[in-house]
């Protein structure tokens, strides 16, 4: 699926920046450093914004396009930040059959964002994920790890209220 690119301005936090510095200097001279650094950078920032990719390119002395090519090739990388609350809707077979796409549609409708996007206030992000192994509860979603099962679209309003 085509990678979405976040339009939300990048907010740098000195803490995270320092961690990235550590990561880069740790792996800089290992062969295949780019993959390792991108993975750890995503752990630090939750995604791989342009500013972070530029910094990695500069410090590894490689082209930005090389970094970007890798970051858009692998599905594990995201160019969109995770919200304060990340909502993951399971699109595995069981959930799908039980109407997961209706749950996703309702969330999209409520939040004004599609899958792999983040609301402008940074509060919510939405992910369409693979099977999370809770098929008995299908259709299921998680919000920052908290599981909500046997969902109906009408449940969504009430659940979201809790996080506002």
């Amino acid at each position: 699926m085509k990678k979405k690119i976040s339009k939300i301005p990048f907010k740098n936090i000195p803490d995270k920046e320092e961690k990235l510095t550590e990561t880069i200097s740790k792996h800089k001279n290992t062969p295949g450093a780019l993959m390792l650094i991108l993975q750890e950078a995503q752990d630090i920032y939750g995604y791989l914004p342009e500013e972070v990719q530029k910094r990695i390119a500069r410090e590894l002395n490689i082209d930005l396009e090389e970094v970007y090519g890798v970051s858009t090739f692998y599905s594990q990388f995201s160019l969109v930040p995770k919200g304060e609350y990340n909502i993951s809707v399971c699109m595995g077979t069981a959930c799908y059959v039980k109407g997961a796409s209706k749950i996703l549609d309702k969330l999209t409708d409520k939040l004004g964002i599609g899958p792999e996007e983040c609301t402008e206030d940074g509060k919510f992000s939405l992910t369409a994920c693979r099977c999370i192994g809770a098929c008995g509860l299908a259709p299921v979603m998680t919000i920052n790890g908290e599981v909500y099962g046997r969902l109906k679209p009408s449940d969504i309003d009430v659940i979201l209220e809790k996080y506002k």
């Binding site: 085509k2 690119i5 990719q53 396009e65 090389e66 970007y68 090519g69 858009t72 090739f73 160019l79």
Partner: protein
């Protein structure tokens, strides 16, 4: 060297080990078709057009990357292979826009040729979803139309080879596309406009921004005085667009064609090259004798200059402040020439024919308008000139030779060799040596700086002083020389850099040849030969012997490096941010 014996389609060949099947097939006189392969640029076995059968192997192998081995038996033309190639082509076509008739590469497209060769009888055999791409027309010199892209990655490899690397293959699977990071326009990235990507594209996905209509509009406007000048290397390549052998010098026919098209004056950028040498040689002398910034680096290759501004801005003081021959020619036309012949500057349109797409960028640079109007108004490539000629009902091959118009059509061998790597250095040395010695010198040839090596170096003892020079052939070789300057270890006084490998004769605006032609011909070598043989046959071969130049210094510029010369012929550079 260990030799390996194998049979290709029954033909016995013996080739060095580690040769690919594709290379060995050339020795056997067999032409295996390719699409993503481009000699010295891209060798990745991605497109599956060059597949062959190897006896004993279950599946087809990509001959461009598969090495030969002892006793190997290769088949290149079985039913299985043909079917496979045909299906590959049909699948490529399923996402291609197939608008051949309006394509800039119609008649010179590798995909089109393969479809013809393999008897594609239904270009819509596989129908399915298609991505509609918006053309990237942001850059001043090129257009990217991904609707025609076959994802061969030749442009990506060419850009990387130039040490520029502003395009890559992004996304994956069906969404795969070539472009810049974060969906940026090319104009927002540190592209140097060299056009090597265009020259490597097998289809019409990349092309120069065409200015033919703009040129004809000026010519058809009776109030405009349209003056054309052609770069040194155009005469050595233009004939290729009309089926003439690579390396044919078509100077006379080119001039005749330009007159037929309707230009009011046909001048030679070689004149501007001679003038550049006057200014550049004396600029060097001044720096050399008065403890100026050394090494001095040449500035006539706009791709190189832009690269320097992006990647080595700290070395901008090392760049010669001389404008390029294109801009010097334009500047003199719009100042001295306009005054002398009483032509209103605002009515003059200067058109330059260049081997180069970066020249389209150069004419828009700051401080390139000696008369108050841009030194050059329109810059077209060799390919665009060929289009103008074809459109003007001219049978190029039948044209009788004609001469350039006088004064600004006068040039010497020094100007001609600007078209090849090492040429600017050699031309400068011819003038430098006489200036330093203060007397005529017999030596004309400085062969140490000739040839197609990546870096050439030499030391010349002139008037008791050692002058150490280097010639950098293509951006690929820039870091090794420039990093030395940065670290203070450079031993050179004078460095020539040309952006494109081989120099202007292989510029991004030159005629495009298909992968096979590039594989079996030394294109750069043949074009180089045409340039050096013209130089050899000219009566005058040193820039300072050019009569027009003497006249212009007498009447207008005083001396090389004078205040007036600086006002008209010199410029400045700016640091550019890479991201």
């Amino acid at each position: 060297m260990k030799m390996v014996n194998l049979k290709i389609d029954g033909v016995k060949v013996s080739v060095p080990e580690n040769t690919t099947i594709l290379q060995a097939s050339i020795v056997a006189g067999i032409h295996i078709p390719t699409l993503c392969f481009l000699k010295d640029v891209n060798q990745i076995g991605a497109c599956r057009i060059c597949v062959v059968e190897v006896k004993g192997l279950k599946s087809l192998v990509a001959s461009c990357v598969y090495p030969v081995s002892e006793g190997m038996e290769v088949y290149t033309n079985t039913q299985f292979i043909r079917d496979s190639r045909k299906i590959t082509l049909e699948l490529i076509l399923s996402t291609h826009d197939k608008k051949c008739l309006s394509c800039i590469r119609n008649g010179n497209c590798e995909l089109q040729k393969l479809c013809s060769d393999f008897g594609i009888d239904d270009e819509n055999r596989f129908k399915g979803e298609k991505i509609r791409f918006i053309k990237d027309e942001s850059a001043i010199h090129l257009v990217r139309d991904n609707n025609k892209c076959v994802l061969c990655r030749r442009c990506v490899a060419a850009c990387k080879k130039q040490n520029v690397g502003v395009i890559n293959v992004n996304e994956r699977g069906f969404d795969t596309k070539v472009g810049c990071a974060f969906e940026k326009d090319l104009s927002d990235r540190s592209c140097v406009s060299c056009g090597q990507c265009i020259a490597s594209c097998p289809t019409g996905a990349l092309s120069e921004k065409d200015s033919c209509d703009e040129v004809m509009k000026a010519i058809y406007n009776e109030n405009k005085y349209v003056i054309v000048n052609t770069a040194p290397s155009i005469r050595a390549t233009l004939g290729e667009c009309f089926g003439m052998p690579i390396g044919t010098n078509v100077k006379g026919k080119m001039v005749a064609a330009l007159r037929r098209i309707g230009f009011d004056k046909v001048f030679d950028t070689d004149f501007g090259a001679d003038l550049t040498i006057m200014e550049e040689a004396y600029e060097f002398l001044d720096r050399f004798q008065n403890n100026g910034k050394l090494p001095m680096i040449t500035s006539c290759s706009p791709g190189w200059v832009k690269y320097c501004e992006y990647n080595y801005p700290d070395l901008i003081p090392n760049l010669s402040t001389c404008k390029s021959p294109q801009q010097m020619t334009g500047a003199i036309i719009k100042t001295w020439y306009a005054q002398k012949f009483n032509i209103s500057v605002k009515d003059i349109v200067v058109v330059s024919v260049m081997p180069c797409t970066a020249k389209k960028f150069e004419i828009t640079r700051e401080n390139q308008a000696a008369s108050g109007f841009p030194d050059t108004d329109i810059s077209i490539t060799t390919r665009e000139l060929a289009r103008l000629i074809k459109c003007a009902n001219i049978d190029f091959e039948l044209l009788q030779d004609e001469e350039f118009d006088s004064i600004l059509g006068d040039s010497t061998g020094a100007g001609v060799i600007f078209g090849v790597t090492g040429g600017v250095m050699e031309a400068a040395l011819r003038t430098l040596e006489e200036a330093l010695e203060g007397k005529p010198i017999d030596r004309v040839d400085y062969t140490e700086v000739r040839g197609n090596k990546g870096v050439k170096e030499a030391v010349y003892n002139i008037s008791g002083k050692n002058i150490s020079v280097a010639v950098v052939n293509g951006l690929e070789n820039v870091p090794e020389i420039l990093d030395e300057i940065r670290s203070g270890e450079s031993k050179y006084s004078f460095i020539e850099v040309m952006c494109c490998p081989g120099g202007c004769i292989n510029g991004g605006g030159q005629p495009i040849h298909n992968s096979y032609t590039r594989q079996i011909n030394d294109i750069i070598g043949k074009r180089m030969k045409a340039i050096y043989s013209e130089d050899k046959n000219l009566p005058l071969r040193k820039a300072h012997e050019n009569q027009a130049i003497k006249m212009i210094y007498d009447e207008f510029l005083d001396n090389p490096g004078s205040e007036k010369a600086h006002e008209v012929l010199h410029t400045n550079y700016t640091k550019r941010n890479k991201f």
